[in-house]
Assembly symmetry: C2
Homo-oligomer: 313 residues x 2
């Protein structure tokens, strides 16, 4: 198995100005794995309750997502989140969070899972992330996501956890908050000095940036005239990013840069419909088309300035 994700498989209820869903498949591991499945084989470590039915199972099966490390608690209920977005779709308003079976989640990895080449530690409590990290010590690349709540409430545990990860994938505000530094470039340096050798910063409609100690790479977002439901966009980005890397033999800067594009492409589809609905029906041709669009919308001729001026004076 090339890629492992630990995170939540959940049910979401979402309301936006454009419509609503009362119960749909959600959670970080769901968004991540369905997105990654277009690029590689992926295995999910998570816990669900008896309400996780054959219907949801089939969604993963159709994408060849391996569920043998999915823990099922028949008399429990799956993690549930209810949220609402107003016309400013940048901010999710949480109306209800029921941890349910997730409250006592202790990720257990099969021997096969422990041998994963790449691992994504989805946004869960940093102690749990560290528990998984320590079981996959031989992985070539371990990446981690987190959120404002963990940065506030469990900062020390989080700092301990990121010591042992290679890549951190977080959003703009989280990077500034974690580093306690308003300038993003300085915040990135500070975070990389704590462990990660690369930092991926998601900036929503402004795109994404990849920092390493020696290099900087930044891309715009795919230009969308309407955003329908941003839930899961970050995990879908991470799924495209890690899934593409898992398809590559060399995890070098060039591969990371292409992975940034594929992550952005997948996230751009995710927000076009509710939950995982759009990504579920994606075709390779649609993915390629947006990848090519990224090249088109960022490309310029590198004609040095003196030459250009001399030529016309």
């Amino acid at each position: 198995m090339s890629l492992l994700v630990v995170g939540s498989v959940a049910f979401d209820a979402v309301e936006t100005p454009f419509g609503k869903r009362e119960k749909m498949l959600g959670g970080s591991a769901s968004h991540f794995s369905i997105s990654a499945s277009f690029f590689t084989d992926v295995r999910v470590v998570a816990v669900v309750g008896g309400d996780f039915s054959r219907e949801e199972e089939q969604v993963f099966e159709r994408h060849n997502v391996n569920l043998s490390d999915l823990e099922r608690i028949a008399d429990g209920k799956s993690f549930f989140w209810r949220g609402r977005y107003d016309y400013d779709l940048n901010t999710a308003h949480t109306l209800d969070t029921q941890l349910n079976v997730f409250a006592d989640f202790q990720p257990k990895l099969s021997e096969e899972a422990k041998r994963s080449r790449l691992v994504f530690l989805g946004n869960i409590q940093p102690d749990l992330q560290r528990g998984v990290r320590d079981q996959v010590a031989g992985a070539e690349l371990i990446a981690l996501d987190t959120m404002n709540m963990w940065i506030e409430v469990t900062r020390d545990s989080l700092l301990e956890t990121i010591k042992g990860v290679h890549v951190m994938i977080i959003n703009d505000a989280e990077a500034r908050q974690l580093a306690d530094e308003p300038n993003l470039i300085r915040a990135a340096r500070k975070i990389m000095s704590q462990g990660p050798r690369a930092l991926v910063v998601k900036r929503g409609e402004y795109g994404a940036a990849l920092f390493t100690p020696e290099t900087y790479f930044a891309i715009p977002a795919y230009p969308l005239e309407s955003v329908f439901d941003p839930t899961g966009a970050g995990d879908t980005f991470a799924g495209g990013f890690m899934g593409y890397l898992a398809s590559q033999e060399k995890l070098d800067e060039a591969a990371m840069r292409r992975a940034m594009i594929f992550g952005s492409v997948m996230a751009s589809f995710n927000v076009e419909e509710f939950g995982t609905e759009r990504v579920q029906r994606l075709t390779y041709e649609e993915i390629n088309e947006r990848f090519r669009a990224f090249k088109q919308m960022t490309n310029f001729e590198a004609i040095p300035f003196e030459r250009a001026v001399r030529a016309t004076k």
Copy 2:
């Protein structure tokens, strides 16, 4: 003369968390023309008072900026602005604005000025911009900047003015405000339907975007670890953008894209020190170095997805 700018030549008093200046050269036409002077010949249409001394004049002279259309009112005072920035350097707090001789400014263009190939209508009252626009009807490219105040107070006049300009150069929030549309892609379409055939959107630390009805181009900002004084960054961007275009024979999409990079390069230098201080001492090699850095930080290999996956499966 290839490039004309109409705007303000002023004195600024600026205080930031890092220092202060009580009286320094400022104003949109100053920032614009000094920036543009690295790429082309530029002429300024503005008005100053008797306090505009030989010292300020020499700054323009050193950069071969043509001041023969600069109106001087010996017994008046130049436009004066006093502002303060807090640690969040994104927002200027205006403490004092004295229009002085600018209050009765009626731009008068010499015959030579009227024959300019490119014209930049800096951020002044839209009626005045229109007055200039109508005197340069033969120009190949007319660009316009504006600000939130004019969009609020003189919306109808502004809409009348942009009917006759080719390129609009404004910031993110202004584009959304002018179009009354929160989605930037839709806002851009709406603005282009009112006249301009291209729209340049400045996004501060997030970079800049170029919209045409058929294409989209977006670049990040040059990554700076410290921003010292953002005053004039927008006009310095416009100066690099228009100045580079003026150096080119063909004003096509490829030239516009390179112009976006040069605009961003010039703005990145502007914010490193007070007012025009950093840009005044720029060398061509420094400009080129950042141009090359832009290529480096946006470049990725366009390897189609199927090929990459097939190669490793």
